[in-house]
């Protein structure tokens, strides 16, 4: 047994996401901590998972951690270098798409796992403008499992998104299906406080795990909408082995960890 090691919020977030990835998954990775989580899974618990990028690289070797999905580091020693249209087709087609798990970030999330990466305020004259969908809307539309990384703050866990960029369960119940989407969207939310999942029936977010030392009250106070915390248990903290691999093999340059 490992005893509890000191770890940073970013480290536990990467490990919580990595644990969700199964051997054989095709891991769609966005920018930043997403890449670290994908590499952690591959190096720790899912050696036969396949990392791939919307830009078209499949199963890149990743001798160095890439910092963008167009980083030249992803083009080296991949199984195939293709194009955006190919990469998204791989996810839209359920034959391959159903094996994909995506890791995304967002500025806002609501109780149904819908994401906003577009703006705060009015879309046409925004207070704060963000980067936009990128491939986020596409992935959330196509694949059965998505992990969202979020900072757990009230202004980010909101009752109503300023803009719905990437569909989750829309308005819950069967509204995602009614809109014409396949089952999918965000299925796991990983924050600096805990891990959330979604009720299979009504599509609402609930607290699955809280991190050691984090109170339910703190999570409650940092979430604008009502969230069921009754099923929550404490997360197993990162093990010594997990942290060692994360630090020494996934990001030795500490590009994301710092």
């Amino acid at each position: 047994m490992n005893k509890v090691q000191p770890y940073t919020p970013r480290e536990i977030m990467a490990i919580m996401a990595a644990r969700e990835i199964r051997n054989g998954d095709i891991v769609f990775s966005g920018t930043g901590i997403s890449m670290l989580a994908a590499m952690a899974a591959k190096n720790i618990n899912a050696p036969d998972s396949v990392i791939f990028f919307e830009t078209g690289a499949m199963d890149s070797l990743l001798e160095e951690l890439p910092l963008a999905v167009a980083d030249p580091r992803i083009m080296y020693w991949s199984a195939a270098n293709s194009r955006l249209t190919d990469a998204f087709a791989t996810m839209q087609n359920p034959i391959t798409g159903n094996k994909v798990i995506a890791i995304l970030g967002a500025a806002q999330i609501d109780q149904y796992g819908n994401l906003n990466t577009t703006c705060i305020g009015d879309y046409f004259s925004p207070e704060i403008r963000f980067s936009g969908s990128g491939g986020g809307c596409d992935v959330a539309s196509f694949v059965p499992r998505c992990i969202a990384f979020m900072q757990h703050e009230k202004r980010k866990f909101v009752k109503k998104l300023d803009y719905l960029t990437s569909p989750g369960q829309l308005e819950g119940n069967n509204s995602r299906q009614a809109a014409g989407l396949r089952p999918g969207g965000v299925s796991l939310v990983v924050t600096n406080l805990g891990v959330m999942r979604f009720d299979k029936n009504n599509g609402r977010m609930y607290l699955d795990k809280f991190y050691p030392g984090i109170s339910l009250k703190k999570i409650y106070e940092n979430t604008e909408f009502d969230m069921d915390v009754s099923k929550a248990t404490q997360a197993d903290p990162p093990t010594k082995t997990e942290l060692k691999i994360l630090r020494e093999e996934c990001d030795p340059q500490r590009l994301i960890l710092d």
Binding site: P72, Y76, L84, F88, C119, F124, F130, G132, G136, P167
Partner: protein, 325 residues
């Protein structure tokens, strides 16, 4: 004629000839990779404005064009530039200050729109975006659309699947074709007729090129036809699509070119810091864009040391262990 034997010309001439005030334009690359930066800077120097820019995920080039006031309308999926700028600074300012009109799609939608243009069909279908605000919030008004024949009447359309529930889809989103007046991409190798070989990921460059009425290629290496013909499997763009070929070594700097050089993370960070302040940004532009004659002069300011630091390792195609901050 598209098969003139020699389309080589100086970049200044190609930009002057093919990029006009009000042109509908797209540029190649993705965030911090293979943006045709020499061409972008030349457009800025020539003060070509009122551009209608189509982008999926452009970063470096997009933010310079917007920062210089060249862009009045933008159709876009993503404006970010890696660690240096998760959201492009000048893009965000321009959107927040109502300095540009913009309309949002997703990356796949924008790629499909170029692909539809390349295929010569009015639209392509996708299952992306159902239920999202991308479908409901149109950045260009109905009246603007009606008044401008170069803008499609509907941002997109949702139809019931005419084949019942075939492939499990009940509804389908149709996204309209884009046929830019001009697309500019930067590639590793081209010959004088315009046949191109892109090494590494092609992003949506091929679709963008084939959708466009005119195409300018800037290239790291201008090679003999014979060199490209020896392996036609590596050439993604045959010459028939190309209008002009410009030999511009390091023409994507400060973005990366696989096999040649990495992105210059220091330059990108410097740009981001400058972009946050109007005064600093004017100084930045004066020094690096308006104050230099051409891309070669620009690279002279950057200097040998930075260029050596980002030069690609021949084994991996990027700069191994480069300090990326």
């Amino acid at each position: 004629m598209t098969n003139r034997l020699n389309k080589v010309m100086p970049l200044e001439q190609a930009i002057e000839q093919y990029v006009k005030t009000g042109s509908h334009i797209s540029i190649g690359g993705f965030t911090l990779n293979r943006n045709p930066m020499a061409a972008v800077y030349e457009i800025i120097r020539q003060k070509i404005c009122n551009l209608h820019l189509y982008a999926h995920s452009n970063g470096t080039g997009l933010d310079e064009l917007i920062g210089a006031g060249c862009v009045s309308k933008l159709e876009i999926a993503y404006a970010g530039n890696g660690k240096a700028a998760p959201t492009c600074i000048r893009f965000a300012r321009a959107a927040q200050n109502n300095e540009i009109l913009f309309e949002d799609y997703s990356n796949y939608m924008m790629s499909l729109r170029f692909m539809a243009g390349a295929m010569g069909v009015p639209f392509l279908p996708t299952l992306s975006g159902l239920g999202s605000d991308i479908l409901t919030k149109w950045g260009f008004s109905k009246s603007l659309r009606k008044s401008d024949p170069k803008i499609v009447d509907n941002k997109l359309a949702v139809i019931d699947n005419p084949f019942g529930n075939w492939t499990g889809a009940s509804k389908v989103v149709l996204v309209p074709a884009i046929n830019p007046d001009i697309t500019i991409i930067h590639v590793q190798k081209a010959d004088a007729m315009g046949t191109c070989s892109i090494q590494g990921l092609a992003f949506a460059d091929i679709e963008q090129v084939k959708a466009s009425k005119h195409v300018i290629i800037t290239c790291e290496k201008l090679v003999n036809k014979e060199e490209l013909r020896q392996n036609p499997d590596l050439n993604q763009i045959p010459f028939i699509h190309v209008s002009a070929v410009c030999h511009v070594p390091m023409g994507a700097y400060p973005s990366a070119v696989f096999g040649h050089y990495d992105y210059d993370s220091q330059y990108l960070r410097k740009f981001t810091i400058a972009a946050k302040s109007p005064d600093e940004f004017r100084k930045y532009q004066e020094k690096y864009i308006y104050g230099v004659k051409d891309h070669k002069a620009f690279l002279n300011i950057i200097g040998r040391e930075r260029i050596d630091a980002i030069t690609a390792d021949p084994r991996t195609g990027y700069s191994v262990n480069m300090k990326r901050d």
